[in-house]
């Protein structure tokens, strides 16, 4: 595990927090967008297993994660104070694929990983900027990091379930509108129902569609074989080493719930 220190810990919405961790440049220089870290939550035995979070952004010798409170691990994480030491394993998993003409689609906390993608694309890295960012949430108050996202000068399309900001309805409706106009690849992260819908749309418009998947992880490094995603062709693939981003057509989304 690597060591770091909490440099910032900020509430971004009722349930979403931004956590900055200061560590060495040596460590951070290996991070690529789409990869994740596994962070040890408190120094005692409960929760036992470190939890995974995508790298949200990088700045000098700091990196950031953006996380939503779900259960006991994230609740415990939210008690971390600035200055406290944290242990983490990183970088883990495979980076996002390098795409050319594409849009990104985030549902809720699914926005987390795209921050770093935008940063990299912005700094003449091998990653290219997306043509647009589609970002949906339940309501306006749950849309986070808008200021940060707007820095990249990329068209931002917003949808909320209650219409309190942007389009009223699912973000997938907006994506479908976009694809009707022009075929573009999709890179999507968000709740399972959204991903299933995206996979349908991607299939319909015959565009390459990548989904960032989730599952409970133990080791995060290929040791335990616990993080399987079922494949359409039969058998399984391991999220922590082969993912978390997968081509939609290869995954057996039906059997996942």
């Amino acid at each position: 595990m690597h060591f770091g220190k909490v440099s910032i810990h900020k509430r971004e919405s009722e349930n979403i927090y931004l956590l900055g961790i200061e560590t060495s440049k040596e460590i951070i220089k290996n991070f690529q967008p789409g990869q994740f870290i596994k962070i040890k939550i408190n120094y005692r035995l409960d929760p036992l297993i470190p939890r995974p979070f995508t790298v949200h952004a990088v700045e000098e010798n700091n990196f950031y994660i953006l996380y939503q409170i779900k259960g006991k691990g994230t609740k415990a994480l939210s008690k971390l104070k600035e200055g406290e030491e944290v242990e983490f394993l990183a970088p883990l998993g495979k980076p996002f694929p390098v795409l050319q003409n594409y849009v990104i689609c985030a549902g809720g906390i699914g926005i987390a990983g795209f921050g770093y993608l935008l940063q990299c694309a912005n700094s003449k890295n091998r990653f290219k900027p997306p043509d647009a960012i589609f970002y949906g949430a339940r309501s306006k108050s749950e849309l986070v990091r808008l200021e940060f996202l707007s820095e990249f000068k990329i068209p931002l399309e917003i949808a909320t379930d209650d219409g309190s900001a942007g389009y009223k309805g699912f973000i997938t409706d907006l994506i479908e509108e976009e694809l009707k106009k022009e075929h573009k690849d999709i890179l999507a992260c968000g709740p399972l129902p959204m991903l299933k819908k995206i996979a349908e749309i991607g299939k319909k418009y015959k565009v390459r569609t990548y989904l960032v998947m989730e599952t409970f992880l133990a080791c995060g490094i290929g040791f335990c074989r616990g993080c399987v995603i079922p494949l359409k062709k039969g058998g399984y693939i391991h999220l922590c080493v082969d993912g978390p981003t997968f081509l939609a057509e290869e995954i057996d989304l039906e059997t996942i719930s």
């Binding site: 035995l45 036992l48 409970f216 335990c224 074989r225 039969g234």
Partner: protein
């Protein structure tokens, strides 16, 4: 304390063995340890359970965290003995430490086929998994059927001269099976595998996982088994269950184990191995 151990001929530089199924098959070791670290800290590798044919394992969910514990239901995903020998074994052989292959079979013939396949390899030991609670045939039935274990162990002992361990289930006829192992000249017993457990993934609709419980939660249970067994029989005991610190390991050693395996600790942090041995070293004995 002195770290080296000789388990009926199997020489370990440290009493720490990597438990089956919790560090892969050697494919990622070099990302977390230098060769020197492996050879300094790790007493022996125990591979993931290997079966005759490849197994793709159980459908998800395969894992569920519980208070201080982890339920797993991997279903013995493994590449099968042939690919293991061709692809993984050479990666393990890079390191100058003993390799113990954990064997899984559903019938005696399968175990014997595996042993046969390993004879031509330079392998220091085998460990029979008669305890995996996830696979209906094989695992569960052996651990509650001492006679079947006796037949199995007798046959395997006939055809395998190197180090031979049997890994017990913590439930079932534990004491009887341990005695059988002693009588049949098994070199060591591993006490123990995981405990049958159930985790609730979702309440409504109910989604559960049945699997084996490992981790700190089970330490007091397995420690009890190790202690009681060590009071009754003479065979070398390798303690395994919930060790995540040097102090945990010492508890096993003081309660009758001659070596120990760590499983879940590897999943929390692959470098826990080093922390544990460094902690043991500082202990005055």
């Amino acid at each position: 304390m002195r770290l080296s151990v000789n388990l009926n001929g199997l020489k370990l530089k440290t009493p720490l063995m990597l438990a089956s199924g919790t560090w892969g098959l050697g494919d990622n070791i070099d990302k977390f340890f230098t060769k020197e670290e492996v050879e300094t800290y790790i007493g022996a590798f125990v591979t993931k359970g290997i079966s005759v044919n490849p197994r793709e394992g159980n459908p998800p969910p395969r894992l569920c965290e519980t208070p201080c514990g982890l339920i797993n239901s991997i279903g013995l995903e493994n590449p099968g003995i042939k690919e293991f020998k061709a692809k993984y074994l050479p990666m393990l052989k890079i390191y100058n430490i003993p390799i113990v292959v954990n064997l899984h079979g559903e019938k005696i013939e399968e175990f014997l086929e595996l042993v046969e396949a390993l004879k031509e390899e330079e392998i220091e030991g085998i460990e029979l998994n008669i305890s995996c609670p996830n696979v209906k045939k094989g695992g569960i039935s052996f651990s509650s059927d001492p006679k079947a274990v006796e037949d199995l162990v007798k046959e395997v002992r006939k055809s395998w001269d190197n180090f031979f361990a049997v890994k017990l289930s913590p439930v079932g006829a534990v004491f009887e099976i341990a005695e059988i192992c002693q009588k049949q000249d098994v070199d060591a017993i591993v006490v123990a595998n995981t405990y049958p457990a159930l985790g609730v993934i979702n309440l409504k609709p109910l989604k559960i996982i049945k699997g084996g419980l490992s981790g700190p939660a089970i330490k007091p249970l397995t420690l009890r088994l190790v202690y009681e067994l060590s009071q009754r029989i003479d065979i070398s005991i390798i303690g395994c269950g919930g060790i995540i610190s040097g102090k945990d390991a010492l508890e096993y050693l003081f309660c009758g184990a001659r070596a120990f395996q760590i499983g879940t600790a590897n999943l929390i942090d692959p470098r826990n191995v080093i922390k544990i041995i460094e902690e043991l070293k500082t202990f005055e004995i």
